[in-house]
Structure formats: C-alpha cells, structure tokens
Symmetry: C2
Subunit: 302 residues, 2 copies
C-alpha cells in the first residue's frame, strides 16, 4: 500500500569536515519520500517555490512519488545552510530562509484522503494535526518533531501525540519531551502520552524501540567514513514506514525488520552529500546491506 | 578451564547522583574475578595491604577464586574516591592513594604458569609484559589499558599489543591509541598493531567487536536506573573471558555469545553500588538476562 508524507522540501548548503555542497535537494519530506520509494508508492504533501527545478520534479516522479499534493507557490523554495563540527554529532545553522514554507498549509488532494500509512515529518504540530483532520481513517500514523515545537508548542504537540501510533524522535528530543534523562524512563513517559511505539534515534549508536511490553535495539551500520549526516533521521523514517506500508506487517517481527530497513537507508544517506547516494541506490544493494545488518547483530551467527 | 587475571584490588569511595558508598571493595582485578567466577575457576594475581579484611578474602574464596597469587604486603590497600556527574558518563577523581599497589610486581606462583586463558587488566604495560614472560604457553591473552599508559608508555604498550590476542578498551581509549576519530578506522589500526580481536566498550551504547573479517555490535541492556557505573568495563571483561574459558569456543559464534555474557555481567554491576549486585547474583538470573539480550537484539524475534 502507499504511504503519505507531509513535511518540508528545502535546498541545503552543507559543510562537513569532508567537503561541501551548495543548494542540494533536501528537506525532511524529500529524504523520507525518496527512502520510502524503494519500498512502496509515496504521496508527498509539501510546498516548493517557483524556483524548484524541473529535473528534481522528474527525479521524484521517476522514483514513483506522487506529487499531486506538492504545492508550487509564488516565491522561493526554503533554504538552509549548515556546518557540521569535527565529530559530526553537532552542527551550526549558518542560514535559514523559510520562504514559501513559512506559509505552508497542508491541503490534501481528495485522492489522498483514504491514506492508511501516514508520516507527519517535523513541522508545526498544528499543521500535523490539520493533516490528520483531512484523513478519513488513517491506519498507521508516524510522527517526528523537534526541540523548537517541544518547548514552544507543547500543548499542541501533546494533543497530537494522543492521536499518533508511532513516535520517531532522537534521544535529545526524547529527553526534552519526557523530562527524563534516562532513556528507558523517557520512553515509558512518551508511551504514556499516547503512541504505542516510541522509536528513539541515537545517531551513530543506532535506534531503540519501546512498546508497552518489548524493547528492541539495533546499532547503526559501522562506516569508515560518514560524509554528511543530513537527512539520516528522515531516511530512517522513510525506510521504516515504507517497509511497513509494503508488508502491512505490524507484528513485533515485522516492525523490527522495518527498523532494520530504516537503519539501512540511513546508513546509505550518510555515505555522500545530501541525497546523492540515494540517487544511485538499487534494491539489490539495499538487500545486501540488510543481510550485513543481520550478520552485524546476530548473536549466534557470523 | 581456569582463567588468570592480573590487576588491581582497591577500596573505592563512590558518589553518584543516586547516593554514595565508602570504602567498597573494588579494583579491576576484583570486578573481573568476581564476574568471571560465575563461568570458570579464577586465579587472581594482585596485591593488597595488611588492612584487607578477612571477610573479603572469604567472599572471593567462596566464589572459587584462587588467591594463591594475591600478595599481602606491608602497608595499606590502594584507595580511590570519585564522584560521577549527572550524566554518569564522566567522573572526577577526588582522591587516589596507590599504597601497596605502587610497588606491585606481579609474581606468579609456579602453579599458575600453565595458564591458558589470561587477562591483563589495566596496569603499567611493563607489568603486563612481566606476566606474559612468566607464562609457559598462554593460549588466549586479553588486555585492557587506559589513557595514562597510552600517552605515557606508548612504546611499551605497542610492544605488548603485538603479543595480545584480544584488546578490550573503551571508545575514547581506542581513539587515543589509534589516532583515528572514526571507530571503524580506529579498530582497523588497532588490529594492525597485533590483536586478532578488538572489543570497544561504548558505555550505555554497548560493545562493538572487530576482527579482520567480521564486525559484531551489541547494545547495552536498557536499564531504568544506573546506580553506579564503576567496574562495568571490568565486569564485562570478566564475563567475556570467563565464558571463553568455560566453553573453550573461539569460533565467531562462541566469541559473540561471550560478548553477550560480558554485557550481561556489566548490566548487573551498574544496578547497585560497587560490586554489591554481584554478591547476590545467581546463575539463573544471569541466564534470564542472557535470554533478554537475545530478545532485545533479535531482528526476527519478539
């Protein structure tokens, strides 16, 4: 089945210790969509400016991404510039121009209202809620957020979380949102806010999933070079939700395999700048790395 | 088969956000020995002062630890006092009195010279080398070290590493010793120094093992409370080497299981101050947590 995502499309200028790239295609909805498109048809709801180049529309379309929910608005596409520190776990924002994204209001084409698998990428929780209100009867709703909304729109965010099945955030956000330093206690608090699953992204240390009665931890794929961490979290969410939409398997085992596919997609994204690596990726390469993940984590295996 | 360990026995005064303890039994050789004793007979080579209490000798003996290599010397047992920060990843040393440990020279009883499984806990690499020279034909040699020796005795340490099969250090030490920030590149460099296996301890993120042709990563057990991280790394090494000595299984699968047993022992140690938790631990509880680790990491399981 297809998966619907709502979020940002940006151009990113990125500097890391390994080099730099100017105005590369980016944004949470973009990373999510491209990663998810390897697993299931994707419907993207977002806004770009009149400067959005035709060849990127073509790239997204060719990946099977339905762009009927992509609004082209007067003005320019959002723009972000950032620089990563030596350890890659921290970055400075050098420039941020919301442009058309400032006025973005998600409006779903009627054809999208039957969506069963939905991902609310990191945007204002009021807009995330607007999406849910336009859906007939969503089955699986995943959601991301960030520090800005946790501190500035906590009430709206908490209201949203009571309607979300799977929360996907990083460890810092989990601590801030829960008020707990310890990650297990943080996850318990977040589960109490509504979601049935909480997936906590830990960067180079991988992902840990909590439900009421299970915990699953998977390491990140050990890479000799991380060129650019931008988009890794969104590609993780894309691989994860995409695989769920493909399989329809919401069992513990199904979700665990989806978490590994998410980790696979994140491991590719960081191997090159922006989403360059995703542009050349094949299904075969994805399966190969999935098997490497099995070997990396299998206690009885080799 | 039995396992021989050489290292320190100390008294520790420890303060964490959860409380404090005064003059608790500690030291790398102690944590290692007690953890390993759940798997195999242990021979401990270390030095204590005349103040070392009889009930601790009894405790260690009852755990099947052969103390014929434990020297009792004129003076006092080594003493360390430390305070952990809120995040438990950092600690300050408040007091350090080497006492009899300052003059420690490992002398193996003749009965120990046939040792097949050997762990050189964190002491001066010159002393670690002295141990190897007293052994007839050691089969499996594991080794730990720390920043102090990496910067101060690099030559001696590198010479030692060419004679060591398994290096067990933490991520900071791996970076310092290799000169590489990236942990995969660091491990490759360390393998090139001699060891056939490098195990890198990552605290709350678990352990990652590298050999020439395999990588294995296991998360730490997610705990709601970490009372005191002291000794976790040494208990890991004890469970790991103890299980290898028990099974004699040096296959990839055998080593992976041993890494999980090491992680199990570390997860217990941090649940209480000093080695309090190890004093009440049972084989059954260890097996139960081993199964929890399998469930925590099994991609296809639940």
């Amino acid at each position: 089945m297809s998966i619907l995502v709502v979020g940002s499309v940006f151009f990113d200028s990125i500097e890391t210790p390994h080099g730099k790239v100017e105005r590369a295609l980016g944004g949470a909805a973009t990373y999510f969509s491209v990663a998810a498109s390897f697993f299931a048809p994707v419907r993207m709801v977002a806004a770009v400016g009149e400067d959005f180049p035709h060849h990127e529309v073509e790239f997204l379309s060719k990946r099977g991404i339905d762009l009927s929910g992509l609004q082209t608005r007067p003005g320019r596409t959002g723009y972000w510039a950032g620089r990563y520190h030596e350890d890659m776990n921290h970055r400075d924002t050098l420039d941020l121009q919301l442009n058309v994204f400032a006025e973005f209001q998600p409006r779903l084409p009627p054809s999208h209202r039957d969506a069963q698998y939905v991902f609310l990428a990191n945007i204002d929780p009021r807009l995330q809620a607007m999406v849910l209100e336009q859906l007939a009867a969503p089955g699986v709703v995943g959601c991301d957020t960030m520090n800005h909304w946790i501190t500035g729109s906590r009430g709206e965010l908490e209201q949203l979380l009571s309607r979300v099945g799977i929360l996907i955030i990083n460890d810092e956000e989990a601590r801030l949102l829960s008020g707990e330093r310890n990650i297990v206690r943080a996850a318990r608090r977040l589960l109490a806010m509504g979601p049935r699953r909480v997936l906590i992204k830990r960067g180079e240390y991988g992902v840990i999933q909590f439900s009421a009665d299970s915990v699953f931890a998977v390491p990140a794929f050990p890479l000799e070079e991380v060129f650019d961490p931008t988009g890794a979290g969104d590609a993780f969410a894309g691989g994860f939700m995409g695989e769920i939409a493909r399989s329809g398997d919401l069992s513990e085992a199904g979700l665990r395999r989806a978490i590994v596919y998410g980790s696979v997609m994140a491991s590719f994204v960081v191997e090159d700048f922006g989403m360059a690596r995703l542009r050349t990726l094949t299904a075969e390469t994805i399966q190969h790395r999935y098997r490497q993940f099995v070997s990396l984590t299998d206690i009885d295996g080799a």
